[in-house]
Amino acid sequence: MSLLQSTQFRPDPSANATRRALIRAWPEFQNPAAWLVALILVIMPLIANGFFLIEIFATTLILGVIALSLMFLAGYGGMVSLMQLTIAGFAGYMVAVFGMSGNANISLGWPWWLATPMALALATLFGTLGGALAVRTEGIYTIMITLAIGAAFYYFTNQNWAIFNGHTGINTVATPHFWGVDWRSDIAFYYVTLGVAAICYFAVQYVSRAPFGLALQGVRDNPRRMAALGFNPNAHRIAAYAFAAFIAALGGVLQVWNYRQISPGSVSVGACIDVLIIAVVGGITRPIGPFIGALIFVLLRTFALDVLIKFGLDGNRFRLLIGLGFLAIVFWSSDGVIGLWERWRRRSTTATQRSGGGRHG
């Protein structure tokens, strides 16, 4: 399709080449639908009330960021890591432990601008070490090792009282106040999450075309050949875990600010698997996928209860709907909602081309 266009309109070859390079580098800048989505996201506080702003959209963006870190690893690196939520949860715990909270016996009371970088650094380190373990294996064993790390962390938080405060967790975690703004107030917090999500999205998009991202895709496709080109495949994989861990940690910090508390339930094995479901349902080939998956997940989680009750069913069965949706999407499209969308668009373009060809004939 893009080839066709480029042969049809060719005013100036060099300008065209630059433009094509730009389209390839930043596809969404050429897409009016992307601008429309961006505009709607920016003016959202004018449209939506506090409930939608936080419970739906901020939550979607936060889960999207965490799932984005999995998309980066799985999509570009071919490594399915189930510990991305654990890394996020670790960052959240660290914010609570180093910062201020209702549990004064545990929290060290650092200001947020010290506690947050500390949490990000420690969570990135945690993810990098976990990654260094996981890259020794491939495929299903990577999933097993990362799941084991996630499960171990969940049980550890449950039983450790000195730092993680056991099963009660840490409550009333302080959120940033500065420049006279309460950054946890609905509108301010929505913009914080939107900003972080946008930065993460564009960072992943950018890095995927930078030498590091290209090399990671090379390692995914053929690690042996990458070694025969002078790359150290495992070093690239570990670096990918580090980058993904930082993104997951950002999501984790936002999550603990969102709920103002963190407990073992936030890092349970079920929650780890939710992140996998979000990424796969949305599609792991492009950075937008995890956000689409997160929106579907959050909408189902929030409204399936009411819908189910309306049909006279038990509202707590909303996970059944998520499970069925997951099954359907994996069944019909190995590439999630994005794959379905692209297939539908390709079919409609071939249909228009065919009708166009008919006119010429």
Binding site: P211, G218, D221, N222, A227
Partner: protein
Amino acid sequence: MDSVAQRLSVVGAGAALELRGVTRLFGALAALTDVTITVRPGERRAVLGSNGAGKTTLFNCITGDFPPSSGTIRFFGEDITQFPPYERIRRGLRRTYQISALFPGLTVQDNVYLACRGVSRGRFSFLRPGQNDALMHATETLVQAVHLTGVKDQRVAELAHGQQRQLEIALALAGAPRFILFDEPAAGLSPTERRELIEILTSLPAHIGYIIIEHDMDVALRVVESVTMMHNGRIFKEGLPREIESDPEVQELYLGGGHE
């Protein structure tokens, strides 16, 4: 009969590639047994032998894809026996694969760019290359050298077989190669493509030596100055192309196989 080997062994420490007693076992099977080869810088040599003679295993030992079970490998005097593959590549060793080992999801340009980046600094760079990036220029030059400029923005999966073979060679020419291992580069090529391949091989700078595994004698013997004949994982004969071609034992074993 070992005149070339004797002549070359005098060069000794100045060798580009020096294998001493290299053996590779797969379980009880010895794919290579006590292989000793010396290749001087800039030398071009063919390795011949029937299927299962150990030719590709020899390449895998030299590049480190599989390390040898015993023996030593020296590259320009440096003992690289224990080095991981990427360390060997960074020292100027290159190889191509018998079955194209490319990155089908990436474009031709990205494939070549990766090869250029692999043997230079900044492998972990988070910054996209700009329009005037030196490696981008190197990439363009290399893509042009193997006649793929017209398809440089296409995904490798969409290329014809012959183009993939050419790309395979381009990846081996990235950076500053000192010695290249070509594993059946002519496999599946048309006569025209074979002529182009011979042209590429013969026009390589004189200081770049190579070993080529090739079944097509027309290609193999036209682009090399010495030949090593392998049989059952051992060196069977070494010599000049015309010596090997006219050797009765070799004809019996390899060339004459089809006349039965």
